[in-house]
Amino acid sequence: MGFTNNIVKGMFILYNKEPHLVVDRVFYSPGKGAAFNRTRLKSLKTGKIVSQTFKSNEKVEEIDVETKTMQFIYVDENNAFFMDPQTYEQISVSLDVIDHGTNYLHTDAKYVTINYEGEVLSVQLPGKIILQITETSDASRGNTATNATKEAVLETGAKVQVPLFIRQGEKVIVNTESSTYVGKAE
C-alpha cells in the first residue's frame, strides 16, 4: 500500500475508504485552475461507478491487491462460482461485480480474480472469448452488402451482431469489453 500522484487506468485505490478500480482517467488542463485528472471509479464493493476529479498532483492511496487465475464452474441466481485449479478451493462472487453478468462466463475460459484483504473484489474477464452460436437467422443469401450484420444469441445468452455468413452452431470470437464480434473461431 502506498500513496501516488500518478493515477492510471486499471489502478486500485482507496476512495472514501472503500476500494475502487480506476476505470477511466483523463488528464486535462482547463485553463482555469491547475491541471486535473478526471476519473471514473468503480466501487469494488457495490460495482457502482462514480465520476471524480482529482488535482493532477493529488496523492491517492493505492492498494495492494492479489490476483489469482481461476476456473469458472457454474452460476446460480446471484453468484458465480470459481475454483482455484491449484488448491481446488471454491469461491463465490456476486454477479453484480462481474462486467456483463453471466454473458461471458464459460467453463473453457480463464478468469482472474482480484483479491483485497482476503476478499474477492472483482473478476477480470478474458479480453476475448470463444462462444458457440445457439440462435441466429439464416440470412446469408440475397443480401450482398459488405457490412451487413445480424443478431446472434451465444450459448451464454449474450447477444452480438455477427456477419451474415455466420451460421447457427458455429463458434465465434467475441471481444468481452466492447461485446463485439472479432472473428470466426477455427
Binding site: 483523463v26 486535462y28 488542463s29 485553463g31 482555469k32 486535473f36
Partner: protein
C-alpha cells in the same frame, strides 16, 4: 487499423465524418445570413494573452541571418478578433484550428481542434446564449436535410434524447454553488476560508492550491455532475478569479459576465461580454503574468498590441468560442473526438 483504412473497407462510415463538414457549412450559412464577415486568423502568433494556466504549443521560425524567433500556435483566435474589432470590421466569425499543449489525447480532447468564434456587437452574454440556441437548431435542420431525415429539434446522443427547444437551462455559478455544493460565493472569497470549506468537505487540500484550482475541483465534482442530461445548460456569472478577459457584472462585483455551454456533460462553448477597459485589461494581464512566475511556469510573450488595440477603443461586444469537434461528436452520436476526424491525433501520437 487507421481511419482511412476503415473507410476504405466500409464506405458507409463516411457519413459519420460528414457531420463535422456539414456543421461547418451550416455555421457559415448561419452567420453569412446575419451579414457577419468571416475572419481568417493566423495560426502562428508572437504573443498571447496572459493566463496563469495556459499551456501554449511553441515553435521556432528562422528568419534572415539565422535569427530564431519564438512563435506560438494559437490557443484561441480571440486576440485577432479583438484587434480587428478595434479596427472596425464589425460583426464577424472565425473557424480555425487552435492548439493546447498539455492535455491527454482523450475522448473529449485533442491537442489540435476546430474552434468557431463569433463576435456579436452591442450584445452581452445573454445574447450569446440565444445565438447558441439558434445556431444549434439551424445546424440540426441543415444536417437533417443533408441526411434526408425529417427535421426534429432533438438529438439522440448515446441513448439519451437531448431537446434543443428554446429556452435551454440556465444556472448561475452562485445558484450552482448554493444548491449543489452548499457554498455561498461570499463565504469563500478568501483563500484561507475556501481551503477550510474544501477540507471540511473531505478534499485533499494543500498549501500550494490556489483559488482557481479549488474552484475547478468543486465545480467538477459537485456542480457539473448535476447537469441535466436531456437539455443543454448554460452556466453563467463566473467568479472574477477565473475570467481575466471578461467584464465584471455591473451589480455584482464578485462575478463576471461569462457563460459556458454544456451538453451531454461536455463543455461546448465559452463566451463573455468583452472587457473594454484597457487599464483593467493591462492590470489583469500583469496579475496573471505575475501568477505564472510565482507558479514557476514558463513565461509567455506579453501581447502589448492587444492592450494597445483595446486602448484605441473596442465596440460594445460579446464574443464566444465553440468547440466544433465536440458539437460534431454530439450530432454524430459518437463517444470519441477521434470518430469525427479523418486523421485523429490519437492515431498519430499515441
Amino acid at each position: 487499423m487507421k481511419t482511412w483504412q476503415k473507410l476504405k473497407e466500409n464506405p458507409e462510415l463516411f457519413k459519420q465524418y460528414f457531420v463535422k463538414e456539414y456543421i461547418i457549412q451550416a455555421t457559415r450559412e448561419f452567420f453569412l445570413a446575419r451579414k457577419y464577415h468571416e475572419l481568417e486568423s493566423p495560426i502562428l502568433t508572437n504573443a498571447l494573452p496572459q493566463e496563469r494556466y495556459n499551456d501554449p504549443l511553441e515553435t521556432k521560425i528562422q528568419l534572415k541571418g539565422g535569427r530564431d524567433v519564438n512563435a506560438y500556435l494559437i490557443p484561441t483566435t480571440e486576440t485577432f478578433n479583438k484587434k480587428i474589432l478595434a479596427a472596425g470590421l464589425g460583426e464577424h466569425f472565425v473557424i480555425s484550428k487552435v492548439f493546447r499543449a498539455l492535455e491527454d489525447i482523450g475522448p473529449d480532447h485533442s491537442p489540435e481542434f476546430t474552434m468557431l468564434e463569433w463576435y456579436h456587437l452591442n450584445a452581452n452574454y445573454f445574447d450569446l446564449m440565444e445565438d447558441c440556441e439558434k445556431l444549434f437548431v439551424y445546424s440540426k435542420k441543415f444536417l437533417d436535410g443533408k441526411f434526408k431525415k425529417v427535421f426534429s429539434t432533438s438529438i439522440n446522443y448515446q441513448g439519451q434524447k437531448i431537446s434543443l427547444t428554446s429556452p435551454w437551462k440556465k444556472l448561475s455559478v452562485r445558484e450552482g454553488l448554493k444548491k449543489y455544493a452548499k457554498v455561498e460565493l461570499e463565504d469563500v472569497q478568501e483563500l484561507v476560508k475556501f481551503k477550510k470549506v474544501m477540507k471540511e468537505k473531505g478534499y485533499n487540500v494543500d498549501e500550494n492550491d490556489d483559488w482557481q484550482t479549488l474552484f475547478e475541483l468543486l465545480f467538477a465534482n459537485e456542480i457539473e455532475t448535476n447537469f441535466p442530461k436531456n437539455k443543454p445548460i448554460f452556466v453563467y456569472d463566473y467568479p472574477i478569479q477565473v475570467c481575466p478577459l471578461t467584464q465584471t457584472k455591473k451589480d455584482d462585483p464578485l462575478v463576471c459576465e461569462k457563460v459556458e455551454l454544456y451538453i451531454a456533460g461536455k463543455e461546448i462553448a465559452n463566451g463573455y461580454t468583452e472587457l473594454r477597459d484597457w487599464k483593467e485589461q493591462e492590470k489583469r494581464f500583469k496579475e496573471e503574468q505575475a501568477a505564472r512566475k510565482e507558479l514557476g511556469r514558463k513565461p509567455v510573450a506579453f501581447d502589448h498590441d492587444l492592450v494597445e488595440a483595446i486602448k484605441s477603443g473596442l465596440p460594445s461586444v460579446a464574443g464566444i468560442g465553440m468547440g466544433i469537434d465536440r458539437v460534431a461528436m454530439i450530432f454524430a452520436d459518437v463517444k470519441n473526438v477521434s470518430d469525427v476526424n479523418y486523421f485523429p491525433a490519437s492515431e498519430m501520437f499515441e
